[in-house]
């Protein structure tokens, strides 16, 4: 069953056409990867999905509903969560507060209730804390850092906290932009395991951008290859790997891919 569908996304900045007629659909529960050389437009696709960029034309449907012109916060409330290529945590806050922020859209407390910390506000905070502790902090193994300010954490841990925050949004679709860029082999393996668990145990659909080709081929159900803002091919990891244009595109930018991009 199709959960997310993008049709003919076109995006340009000034005279620069960044996306040309990008179309794809993502099934409920699958891991869908987007790969391509630097500057191909991968992040721009996620930005359109999340509502951070508004496409020139084209439609985006979530569960059959047209969300093309909804604001980012509305899309978040509908179950779209996001991690970023350049970590976008709230640096002034602790790990715990960052994760709690993810839960923002489904919490109820309003301004007045918050100021008085009345019964319901208090109960909601306690329930949230328990849920985050039991489900997320435990799952991602970050108990030891929960009270630390995020700015003090190592890079790999920050990426994990970002994932935690995205999970706290109770997403249906998780958009991950280069989750293992800049990580060592062990951290990469941990992250790959988390992503698979999120798909299998939590039933969350994942769209992932990644330069680490081995990881992409290992974990994804389907892969879309883009270059110069155009879709080159979409299919299973095996079929994509043997596509001549992919070989060409990847050989052409082998250096860039090997160097990784952060």
């Amino acid at each position: 069953m199709t959960l997310l569908q993008a049709d003919n996304l076109n995006l340009s900045f000034g005279g620069l056409q960044v996306l040309h007629d990008i179309s794809f659909s993502v099934d409920d529960g699958e891991i869908f990867a987007i790969i391509g050389p630097n500057g191909a437009g991968k992040t721009s696709i996620l930005n359109c999905l999340g509502g951070f960029y508004l496409q020139d034309h084209g439609t985006i449907r979530l569960d059959g509903q047209d969300i093309s012109s909804l604001s980012p916060d509305r899309r978040a409330a509908m179950g779209m969560a996001r991690t970023f290529q350049n970590i976008a945590l709230f640096r002034g806050m602790t790990v715990l507060d960052n994760i709690k922020l993810g839960a923002h859209s489904y919490l109820q407390t309003g301004l007045l209730a918050a100021a008085f910390y009345w019964g319901s506000a208090h109960r909601e905070e306690m329930r949230l804390r328990a849920e985050i502790e039991d489900k997320i902090i435990d799952f991602l193994e970050i108990e030891h850092i929960r009270k630390q300010p995020v700015s003090a954490l190592a890079y790999g841990l920050q990426k994990r906290v970002e994932l935690a925050r995205a999970l706290a949004m109770r997403p249906r679709v998780l958009l991950m932009d280069e989750p293992v860029a800049g990580m060592n082999a062990e951290e990469t393996e941990d992250m790959a395991r988390f992503i698979l668990d999120i798909q299998e145990e939590w039933g969350i659909t994942i769209i992932i951008i990644e330069h680490d080709i081995h990881m992409v081929m290992d974990i994804s159900n389907r892969v879309m290859v883009v270059n110069f803002g155009q879709e080159i091919t979409t299919g299973t990891p095996e079929s994509v790997q043997s596509h001549p244009e992919v070989i060409k595109a990847y050989l052409g930018t082998k250096q860039a891919v090997a160097a990784g991009n952060s």
Binding site: G50, D73, M93, H104, A115, E125, A130
Partner: protein
């Protein structure tokens, strides 16, 4: 059983004053605050009351500027609106203090929302200029809407009454300010431990990803403007109840800047910071003045130089503080506390 236990530990973990020691010292402070008016001179009480009003106003500004990151140059204007509202309500309708207080807050909050509305389209310095414009317009209204504000001559109000009791003099007023401080500090603190306060800080730190996190930027900026100016309005009500007179000169631009200085010196986004900053900015000039008076006895002829020097010293003190502790007095306090917590074992 297990789950019940967990809930209790999380609740304890989320409490504002976690350790018994901090609760003990809070109790001590509270008792001292209760004893203070009985032993303090009228002058000291007057200073304490002034400081108290500044604390309330600074807490308000710290919500908007410190937590939500929206710099405001119009805070004194909002305090003024509260003050005028309260004066008019007292004079024309004879409303008691306890009614005037929230109404003054609501009136300021209303204008706060108006001033915050452009934040849908602008941010940063542009929004800051909007607040500057608001400050100028408010001042203009205070001066020129004579039928209501009394123009440059201003208004006089009778002493505040509470449950039919007239509160006259510094001693009585102390008992009005203290509860309002405790109330606002608690409310602000509560705000910061729920989703509303977290959203404010998220907007300050990274407004773009805050929006991707599901935070409606416009709504939360308006919340910040509304709650901040509500508190400013209450501070205004306290102000006019204290001085019993009010003119436009009480709420000029440099008063707005003084409030900004309070929260910067004290610590941005920090309740304790608002309190320390307000105390610092109110008491230090007074201390310098007293020191000068003391010197004057010995060398009256040097006063011509020393009087202007007072302002310079005050400015220098602020700069020195910020150079050595950019996070403000609250951070210094934190370090002292940590030092004593580990005290016998580590230095």
């Amino acid at each position: 059983m297990r789950i019940g236990d967990f809930k209790e530990t999380y609740a304890a973990d989320e409490a504002v004053f976690r350790s018994t020691t901090s609760r003990f010292w809070l109790g001590v402070l509270f008792v001292l605050l209760l004893i203070f008016p009985f032993i303090a001179s009228d002058y000291l009480l007057y200073m304490a009351n002034l400081t108290g009003i500044a604390i309330v106003a600074a807490i308000g500004l710290n919500i908007l500027t410190g937590a939500a990151g929206q710099i405001s140059l119009g805070h004194a204007g909002f305090v003024g609106i509260g003050a005028y509202t309260s004066a008019v309500l007292t004079n024309h309708l004879g409303l008691p203090f306890l009614i005037c207080l929230p109404l003054a807050g609501l009136m300021s909050a209303f204008f706060g929302i108006l001033v915050g509305a452009p934040s849908m389209r602008m941010k940063g310095l542009y929004l800051c200029i909007t607040t500057l414009a608001a400050q100028v317009i408010f001042e203009f209204i205070f001066v020129h809407w004579e039928s209501v504000t009394g123009g440059i001559r201003g208004l006089n109000v009778p002493p505040p009454s509470i449950f039919g009791l007239k509160i006259d003099g510094e001693f009585g007023f102390y008992w009005l300010v203290l509860p309002v401080i405790i109330l606002t500090a608690t409310a602000a603190r509560n705000l910061f431990r729920t989703r509303v306060g977290r959203a404010f800080i998220a907007i300050r730190d990274r407004d773009i990803s805050a929006e991707l996190m599901g935070i409606n930027l416009f709504r939360y900026k308006l919340y910040a403007f509304a709650s901040s100016s509500f508190i400013a309005g209450m501070a205004g009500c306290l102000w006019v109840s204290h001085l019993k007179t009010i003119t436009p000169e009480h709420f000029p631009l440099h008063e707005s800047i003084r409030y900004l200085a309070m929260i910067i010196v004290g610590g941005l986004g920090n309740i304790l910071g608002s309190i320390f900053g307000a105390i610092f900015m109110t008491l230090i000039p007074e201390v310098l003045q007293t020191a000068l008076k003391f010197f004057e006895q010995f060398k009256p002829e040097a006063m011509a130089y020393l009087y202007p020097l007072q302002t310079v010293v005050f400015g220098l003190l602020i700069v020195v503080f910020l150079v050595f502790e950019p996070h403000g007095l609250a951070e210094i306090w934190c370090r002292i506390k940590n030092y004593f917590r580990l005290w016998p074992f580590k230095h």
